[in-house]
Amino acid sequence: MAIKILSVDDSRTIRLIVGRAFKSYDVTVIEAGNGEEGLAVAAREKPELIILDVTMPVMDGVTMLTRLKADPELKGIPVIMLTAESGRENVLQIARLGVRDYLVKPFKEEQIIEKASRCVTLEKRAVTAA
């Protein structure tokens, strides 16, 4: 069964890039446009991994992560933060919140796969004959 990965980003561009990165893997990428939607989707879908942006309108990634970690049913889901900000303080703040890993923009698709494969087992999608 395909594993579920939740991409939470206000940028449709980034959600598309994340979806494209996992295209050849047995993964279903589900999406949310901000932290509030992300929490609702996470509660409903129970994804195996969340790839979470930091700066978003409505609810930012840090707030979503804090609420996720306070929820007994969701706190075990590994989270990779995706951020345009690599500063030392920013990274330390994120690390303190209990993320599994983080990825700094700009990034290559291979880097998402590499980080994700440290959190979940990614299997190549079976090739079907045309």
Partner: protein, 159 residues
Amino acid sequence: MNQTVHIPNICEFMNRHLVDVFDTMLSIKAGVAPDKAMPMFDERITGCVAFAGEHVNGTIYLHLAAPFATQVAAAMLGLSASDLGDTEVNDVVGEVTNMLTGGLKSWLCDCGSECAVSTPAIIRGSAFTIEPVPDVERAWLLFDCNQSRVAVEIHVRIG
């Protein structure tokens, strides 16, 4: 690391960072323009992201000619230019501007000037100028990529 933040070292950082962002995200080679000729845009798409902190604040504007912005969006999304509408192009230009400003924010934080960044906004038009408010310094950086000229306008108030 604590270092004094000035317009010249902000520009020096941004010159390197734009080349890196374009190369990594778009596989487009950008180079610092050899001359200071301002680009003449028939139609322009401008991404803007603000940054604000106790010691430094300002805005980064990324100006792209509309046809080149479509090329950039196609490169980033891996789609054909003909499949893209204004929404997709706006989103990509906003995201690239966000990456440029996010990198600057990180550099500023590492220099000891903490700040926060806004979410991106887009301006589309053919004849507009952006005037800095008093006490704000302005710098222009020009780049050549794919036979198009790209301009980064930096407005910053330090101290």
